[in-house]
């Protein structure tokens, strides 16, 4: 099962390598990893998406916790959470295709952020499924390049079923 983990870490040199090394050394799998500073100085936030059965994910969470530089770990599969990812996608866009591409951009509420005679670069945000759907639909135009941030996530303020 796919799990989204939110990890608060001390922002010191080597912390990324500690987390990445933990996953590689113990044979855990990282699907995506996103790191950025938080509002609190010296603290960074990592969002890690991983796959594994219950016992493996329990180990991952515990092992992360055990790292001396990790402050807090949350598994968002246990709670309601908002999850988003941003993607930049460069697509072939010549002549007759441009109108069709712009319609798709509108449907998915994307943005065109760069354009040339033959290509367009589109900014898209959404959860993992939406991003996947956009990639599938744009494939027939010819995708030149994709850059994705990996998921970031946040706990919902209202936890309705609890």
């Amino acid at each position: 099962m796919r799990h989204v983990l939110s990890v608060l870490v001390e922002n010191e040199p080597g912390v990324l390598s500690r987390v990445a090394g933990l996953f590689s050394g113990r044979g855990f799998n990282i699907e995506s990893l996103n790191v950025a500073p938080t509002l609190e100085e010296g603290v960074s936030h990592m969002t890690i998406t991983t796959r594994g059965d219950e016992q493996i994910v329990e180990q991952i969470v515990k092992q992360l916790h055990k790292l001396v530089t990790v402050i807090k770990v949350m598994d968002f599969s246990d709670v309601a959470a908002v999850e988003r990812e941003m993607m930049l996608l460069k697509v072939q866009a010549e002549g007759s295709m441009r109108g069709e591409i712009l319609r798709m951009v509108e449907i998915f509420r994307c943005k065109v952020v760069d354009v040339s005679f033959s290509e367009m670069t589109i900014e898209a945000t959404g959860n993992a499924e939406k991003i996947q759907a956009i990639i599938s639909l744009f494939q027939r135009f010819g995708i030149k390049e994709v850059a994705r941030t990996g998921s970031v996530a946040m706990r919902r303020s209202m936890q309705l079923d609890t």
Partner: protein, 563 residues
């Protein structure tokens, strides 16, 4: 007052109560070495290889319960410590390793004797630090010792660039340490203790399984009290030997690959297993799906990652072993009343006694000296009062099986990593801590050659460490596997090409004894043990003796090969 980095380091060691430092100098730490002679209360032991510095600090830590400390130079000095660090990490031993580093401005430049030791040791330390700013030096050292000895202990490495050791700052010793991201759980959850006690009342066939964590948390007394109060049988892992007196009638022996028949049978027939400070290593469990197959499991460990890592647990207790055992004992006693009688496992104990009696540890006698006899004779001569270090392999297993361990911290052995070459330097560390005790390294002819150079260290410091070589001129354990599972294909396990150990000892200024006849064993061994000097006792034993019982790798614990 302003102090240099080197002065701050030594001042900090004093504040941490360090009295022995194992080390080896080099360019990057020469400023620290320049300072050492001014600190007469700190004893520096010059080893002959950096690996031995860590093993010696580790042996010192295991024998005393204090943090072991070592100091080495950058580059090769640092990389040579890696095996020692990994050894300490696998067995959760508190050691602080100081490594020299090239000046900060050269880091990353492939400078002479530069290596990214923090990067290299990240997966085999509990934590590690690179000190880039002298103003953080004292605090970092304080944190390193705190991390090494607290929670689940382990090795912590501090990398010290040369320029940081030379520069100066005001020395402020931080008395309090607050680390918001590090808070080990010592106090057990009372509900989990209650649930554990419920299990005792429900059980008919309980077994206590103890590991190294129990020794680490100084919980041997609590364990013995609980076992006696409830009359529960006790088994232990290799790392747990000494936690419970092997002379006690509740003692069943070591479990696992070379465990006793009674201990392994007990695990697989138990209906309740209480594991304390043990982590269910594959050498302990055998085939995991068959391990303790009828038992509910209570698992007490200070490290949450140990719980449910290898086996499923019914009642997890994350806590210090001693506090948890004492809590369980208190709750148990408070429940006993006129309507709730004390637990009674006498029927189970009866069965266990029969197993114990029907298949005790044994071996066939012969005209050649048997390695098992050597260990038994040693145990008799020192009346079980020595500190025993071992190397790894058959020597280690015979030491574990045939020496009667009754006291915690008297067995120093590389359990998790299985490091050949560990025993001798570890024995040196222990002898420094306990100059008046008999310290014996039970070795094989293969493993002793992995750190033999430390004879110079032992002789220089007049340490009466005894090296007892069970010499079968083989890499015995690998040979045993080749005999049993690889069709007698003795590939590269013959070690007949070996030095004359007696002459070798003498060349280093130590004493050498050779024992080749059974009738000389006891008298020669006694003579060697009585010597005030470092000595090698080279005992030529039966060449193709095997360690039994043996659970083949991947088999269930009750599928043992017996003698």
């Amino acid at each position: 007052m302003e102090l240099t980095g080197a002065q701050i380091l030594l001042e900090s060691l004093k504040r941490e109560g360090v009295d022995v430092l194992f080390g080896y100098p080099g360019g990057a730490v020469i400023d620290i070495y320049d300072e050492i002679p001014r600190h007469s209360d700190l004893k520096h032991i010059l080893v002959r290889h950096e690996q031995a510095a860590v093993h010696a600090a580790d042996g010192y830590a295991r024998a005393t319960g204090k943090v072991g400390v070592c100091l080495v130079t950058s580059g090769p000095g640092a990389t040579n410590t890696v095996t020692g660090i990994a050894t300490a990490y696998c067995d959760s031993i508190p050691v602080v390793i100081f490594t020299g580093q090239v000046p900060t401005r050269l880091i990353g430049n492939d400078a002479f004797q530069e290596v990214d030791i923090v990067g290299i040791t990240r997966p085999c330390t509990k934590h590690n630090f690179l000190v880039k700013d002298i103003r953080t030096l004292a605090k970092t050292i304080r944190q390193a010792f705190f991390l090494a000895r607290s929670g689940r202990p382990g090795p912590v490495l501090v990398d010290l660039p040369k320029d940081v050791m030379i520069s100066k700052t005001e020395f402020v010793w931080p008395e309090d340490i607050v680390m918001r991201s590090y808070n080990p759980t010592y106090k057990p959850n009372v509900n989990q203790l209650r649930r554990s006690v419920d299990e005792f009342f429900k059980a008919k066939r309980p077994v206590l399984l103890v590991g190294g964590g129990l020794i680490m948390s100084n919980a041997a007394r609590s364990l013995t009290d609980l076992a006696h109060e409830l009359r529960i049988p006790v088994v232990s892992t290799l790392m747990g030997l000494g936690a419970f007196p092997a002379t006690d009638d509740l003692w069943l022996g070591m479990v696992g690959m070379h465990g006793t028949y009674a201990a392994n049978m007990a695990i697989n027939h138990a209906d309740l297993l209480i594991a304390v400070g043990a982590r269910f290593d594959d050498r302990v469990t055998g085939k995991v799906s068959d391990f303790a197959r009828h038992a509910r499991i209570v698992h007490i460990d200070i490290d949450p990652t140990s719980i449910r890592k290898n086996v499923n647990v019914d009642v997890p207790v994350v806590a210090d072993c001693r506090l948890a055992l004492d809590g369980i004992a208190d709750i148990y006693k408070s429940r006993i009343s006129s309507t709730t009688p004390a637990v009674d496992y006498s029927e189970w104990l009866q069965t266990l006694a029969e197993w114990k009696q029907s298949k005790p540890l044994c071996y066939q006698k012969s005209s050649n000296i048997k390695p098992q006899t050597v260990v038994e004779t040693l145990c008799r001569l020192v009346k079980g009062n020595a500190i025993i270090a071992t190397e790894v392999g058959q020597n280690q297993m015979w030491a574990a099986q045939f020496y009667t361990f009754t006291t915690p911290r008297t067995l120093l052995t590389s359990g998790g990593l299985g490091t050949m070459g560990y025993g001798f330097p570890a024995a040196i560390g222990a002898q420094l801590a306990f100059p008046d005790k008999i310290v014996v390294n039970i070795a094989g002819d293969g493993s002793i050659q992995m750190n033999i150079q430390e004879l110079a260290t032992a002789v220089e410091n007049r340490l009466p460490v005894k090296i007892l070589i069970l010499n079968n001129m083989h890499l015995g354990m690998v040979r045993q596997w080749q005999e049993l599972f690889y069709n007698h294909n003795y590939s590269s396990t013959n070690m007949e090409a070996q030095p004359d150990f007696v002459k070798l000892a003498e060349a280093y200024g130590a004493e050498g004894y050779r024992i080749t006849r059974s009738e000389d064993l006891e008298s020669e061994l006694a003579k060697a043990l009585a010597s005030p000097n470092t000595a090698i006792i080279d005992v030529h034993v039966e060449r193709e003796e095997n360690v039994y019982p043996m659970v083949p790798a991947g088999a269930a614990l009750d599928e043992m090969l017996l003698v």
